[in-house]
């Protein structure tokens, strides 16, 4: 085979490889959801973050407006400190609140931001004061069960007392 032909096929082979990597990164991977725009960072303390992970989305009204940049533990307040990178251009009032929510029943967890009513907006490095922790299924079930038990106990109280009198 002539040199030019070999070169052509090798070039095509390498191009195909590059196309495959781009396909894996963009179509199969999450590179397309990386935002390379400027961001500003906020922080929020939560009592319990549940299964929140770094790079989880930050959403407001269901639209992704940022990502979780880091999660650490504060041993003074015994709370989780979550750093959020919010895309520049999305401003929120300083009394906005952050909640940890779950997409679907068993989906991944994300942070939802509910806008408040203040005139001033968050600036770089501010802390979100109003937060709501993740719902932990075990706590929910035990609350429900104790609630049931309490209710049953109080409704059965007169009936149990009656024979004794």
């Amino acid at each position: 085979m002539s040199r030019e032909k070999t070169d052509f096929w090798v070039g095509l082979f390498v191009l195909l490889g590059a196309a495959a990597v781009v396909f894996l990164a963009l179509k199969a991977g999450n590179l397309s959801s990386f935002s390379f725009g400027a961001t500003y960072s906020l922080s929020a303390n939560f009592d319990n973050i549940g299964g929140l992970k770094v790079r989880a989305p930050v959403k407001s009204a269901g639209v992704t407006i940022g990502r979780v940049a880091g999660i650490s533990f504060d041993d003074k307040t015994f709370q989780a400190v979550v750093r959020l990178d919010i895309e520049q251009g999305y401003d929120f009032p300083t009394d906005s609140s952050a909640k940890i929510l779950t997409s679907g029943l068993l989906g991944e967890q994300y942070i939802g931001i509910e806008p408040g009513g203040e005139d001033k907006n968050f600036a770089q490095g501010d802390k979100i004061r109003y937060t709501q922790s993740a719902v932990v299924l075990e706590n929910l079930i035990s609350q429900f069960l104790y609630g049931m038990a309490d209710k049953q106990g109080s409704s059965q109280q007169p009936a149990q007392d009656a024979p004794g009198q």
Partner: protein
């Protein structure tokens, strides 16, 4: 008494043989890397080998990837459907391919398709005394023959693995979405939500580079060390496939433990 001494002696000889083979193997790698300047000064030698090793392996790799994707689609659907989570089919197909199956199956095919031909070619060159003739002409055969083949294999292998994963995902899409009827939107969106570019895609590429180095090196080493007889070349070719495949599987376990262990 002499029997015990002989047994101990043969044990020692076996251990010494292994250790010296390992040392020779490492020095062989060192010499290859040391002589790699020719890959830069005469890149056409490397691109010829990429053509020989890569382009000719492309068809078998793409077809295998397609069928592996088909099977993952069918089998994954069957299992996920029991738990009512067939939406995660895309994630399952993409993660298995980019993290494990893509690099590993491609490396096994690569050992069988390209590794054997490298070993046989070099073994026959040695048997035909072509390598000795080169040395007489003051051409270093390691530099002129082995180095371009080594770099050709190292370059071709990650490309083949990426093509394998891509074709496999498309195969899973064909079976899962077109044939079975999983929702196309959730197939891709679950995949994009779950596959991380650095953790999964990039680590898969790192794996395929490591496998490319290991398989090509073993193939070249076996050819270089082959006895210059028809039987010796046959044995060397067999050893290439056996040692290459086993080292790919062993390395894969190590790399997986390192990359995804925690």
């Amino acid at each position: 008494m002499t029997g015990i001494v002989r047994n101990i002696g043969s044990l020692g000889a076996a251990v010494r043989g292994r250790v010296s083979a390992l040392g020779f193997f490492t020095r062989f790698l060192g010499r290859l890397l040391g002589a790699s300047g020719i890959a830069l000064s005469r890149p056409r030698l490397v691109s010829q080998q990429v053509h020989f090793i890569g382009n000719y392996s492309l068809l078998i790799v793409a077809v295998s990837g397609m069928f592996v994707g088909f099977v993952l689609g069918l089998q994954g659907y069957y299992t996920l459907n029991r738990y009512g989570s067939e939406d995660a089919l895309g994630l399952l197909v993409a993660l298995s391919l980019t993290r494990e199956l893509g690099p590993v199956v491609t490396a096994l095919l690569f050992a069988g398709r390209a590794g054997t031909s490298l070993t046989a070619e070099i073994g026959l060159m040695k048997a035909g005394e072509q390598l000795a003739a080169m040395e007489v002409m003051a051409v270093d055969p390691l530099r002129r023959v082995l180095v371009p083949r080594f770099w050709g294999g190292v370059i071709a292998m990650p490309i083949l693995a990426a093509v394998f994963s891509m074709v496999g995902i498309l195969g899973g899409y064909l079976v899962g979405v077109r044939l079975i009827g999983v929702d196309s939107g959730s197939f891709w969106s679950q995949m994009q939500a779950g596959v991380d570019v650095w953790n999964d895609v990039f680590n898969g590429i790192v794996k395929s580079v490591v496998f490319g180095v290991a398989v090509t090196l073993i193939a070249l080493y076996e050819g270089w060390q082959a006895k210059p007889t028809p039987e010796g070349v046959a044995r060397a070719t067999t050893r290439t496939v056996v040692a290459g495949s086993l080292s790919v599987l062993g390395l894969d376990f190590l790399l997986t433990a390192l990359m995804f262990g925690n």
